[in-house]
């Protein structure tokens, strides 16, 4: 029976990791599902869904030689998963400001208390080493729409964080 696994792979970035990883999985009988790769602080990171009829130990053995050769950390989880179950976001929240500890916790805490469900989050530290700026873009679903969130986020604006709420209405044509 085919089962889904979530693979998390982390290591020093270099060209060719995705190719080697996906070739190994393909030749090992895996079918890939959704995946997301990001280069974070010079590190390679990917999370990907792989479907196979082998058990988790066999999957571990399949990836072990590659992990050793490229010095990658591989983490495997057996997951319950379905494809074709995307949830469409209805709101984008863009956050920026002088970088400091706590911005993500404060913003996402306020969002969670207001019932907002984060579907996608991207953040970066830009600016210069002396004056770093923090930028975060969150797409998600606000059950009560943008107005309800404005009130929840208002106190944060006073702390010097810039917040912009943009309703998303996906055009279907």
């Amino acid at each position: 029976m085919k089962r889904w696994y979530m693979l998390t792979v982390v290591g020093a970035d270099r060209p060719g990791i995705v190719a080697r990883l996906s070739e190994t999985l393909y030749h090992g009988g895996c079918n890939l599902g959704e995946a997301s790769m990001a280069r974070l602080g010079g590190n390679f990171s990917i999370m990907l869904m792989a479907q196979t009829d082998t058990d988790i130990e066999a999957l571990r053995l399949l990836l072990a030689p590659l992990a050793r050769e490229l010095n990658l950390h591989v983490h495997l989880d057996r997951i319950e998963a379905q494809l074709h179950e995307h949830v469409e976001p209805n709101l984008r929240i863009t956050v920026s400001g002088a970088d400091r500890a706590g911005i993500v916790a404060e913003v996402t805490g306020a969002l969670a208390r207001a019932g907002f469900n984060i579907l996608d989050l991207y953040s970066d530290v830009a600016g210069t080493a002396a004056k770093p700026i923090y930028v975060m873009i969150i797409d998600g679903f606000a059950p009560q729409g943008a107005e309800a969130l404005e009130a929840a986020l208002a106190p944060l604006r006073k702390t010097g964080v810039d917040l912009r709420l943009t309703p998303l209405d996906t055009l279907i044509g």
Binding site: H84, T94, D120, I137, L171, I172, G173
Partner: protein, 166 residues
């Protein structure tokens, strides 16, 4: 009126370029009614182009009037449409009946002027902006065998090219 079958990517017929409508006859009227019935049968759908239902003539239907608080021209049946002007550019999220369960960001003009004909062959000009302009451009792409997949951008690039990127 009939609800027509919608072609789905990767059906190669979606890449076909449609030809101009020449005969403004009873058959065209019947097809336009079927196209509209098919669009109305999909909740939330704001446009449909003839090639999406396996009919390769330059006909598209757009109606964003059900969306709240948007400037719009109501129901627009666009026959042999031509874009006369486009201004500005804005990124927005799109999906398509022909590409189920995938949405992506696409850069489109913010304001357009489009000229087209109606069912009796009379010319009309429409000024569209924002969401409606996006819908028209999305449908007109279908007439040239293009899908939004051909224009989709990485969500990660959004930050760098938002509104009025020229």
């Amino acid at each position: 009126m009939a609800i027509l079958e919608v072609l789905r990517y990767p059906d190669a017929r979606l890449k076909q370029v449609s030809s101009a409508v020449v005969e403004f006859d009873e058959r065209l009227h019947r097809f336009a009614a079927d196209l509209e019935a098919t669009m109305r049968a999909s909740p939330g759908c704001v446009g449909l182009a003839a090639p999406q239902v396996n009919y390769f003539q330059r006909i598209a239907l757009v109606d964003v009037s059900a969306k709240p608080k948007l400037p719009h021209n109501g129901r627009m049946l666009l026959i042999n449409p031509v874009i006369l002007e486009q201004h500005g550019a804005v990124v927005g999220r799109e999906g398509c009946l022909s590409v189920p369960d995938f949405t992506g960001n696409v850069l489109r003009a913010e304001r357009i002027v489009v000229r087209s004909h109606d069912l009796d062959g009379a010319p009309h000009e429409y000024r569209c902006q924002g969401y409606e302009a996006r819908a028209v451009l999305h449908e007109l792409d279908h007439l040239d065998g293009l899908l939004f997949l051909d224009r989709v951008e990485s969500p990660r690039q959004d930050l760098f090219r938002r509104k009025n990127y020229k």
